[in-house]
């Protein structure tokens, strides 16, 4: 038997690593990937609580998060491609102005 709190602590570890990567990474694609890592950590919490309370709605939440994450990845990567076209860089320190 695995206590549910172990799953929650695992997702807390993953979420904190995602926050650290979000703050430390300088490449815009890596920053975006750390957002995906945080989304996955929260999904694990939803599934663990769905198992804990024997409710399907937690898994429904995860399903919708996955759909929104797919849409977000498509739009975000398109924005990254557009930024790279205009500025020729992927470094977030050089993309700190709203206009060129």
């Amino acid at each position: 038997m695995v206590p549910t709190s172990y799953y929650l602590v695992l997702s807390a570890i993953l979420f904190s690593i995602g926050v650290a990567a979000f703050l430390i990474k300088r490449n815009i694609i890596s920053v975006f990937m750390s957002i995906e890592l945080m989304l996955n950590a929260v999904n694990l919490t939803f599934v663990a609580f769905a198992h804990q309370w024997h409710q399907v709605s937690g898994q429904i939440f995860v399903f919708f998060v996955m759909v929104v994450a797919a849409a977000e990845a498509a739009v975000g990567l398109a924005i990254i491609i557009a930024i790279f076209r205009t500025r020729n860089t992927l470094n977030v320190d050089q993309v700190d102005l709203m206009k060129l």
Binding site: I17, A20, L23, I29, A74
Partner: protein
Amino acid sequence: MHLVLFFIFGGLCVAGALNLLFQRHPINSSLSLIVVMSSLAVLYLLLGAEFLAAAQVIVYSGAIMVLFTFVIMLLNAGREERTHGSKAAYIVGFPGAAALFALLAYVFLTNGKYLGGARLGDYLVTTSDLSRVLFHDLLLPFEVTSILILVAILGAVALARKEH
């Protein structure tokens, strides 16, 4: 058995996430993120979410990460260089994330005794259970997400198109 599987795949998750954090080349980060997502699929199976485990492999480690890897290769992203801003990020980032983890772990472990435990196979949500809720009670949100996907596709095409 459950505990052993949890520690193997949870450890794989944490190792992949740390590799994502410390690799400086984005392609290595994206490949280690695939490891994280695939081992999360096994953890979903342990928690009795069989549809979500399949969807995790297909949608996340399949579609989304292939898109990421494709964009990394398309833009020819190299190693990220250390810049002025990265020093401040190191000073703030690691203690901030450690403090966040300490807070979350404290809350979860002190309240963990009110929660039960998960045994292998004591609660299984089959695909038909999930689809009954999804297509019966939540039909409207489901259709709205399909419109969201459509808008996202149009937006991605409009954003990534070359300007004339």
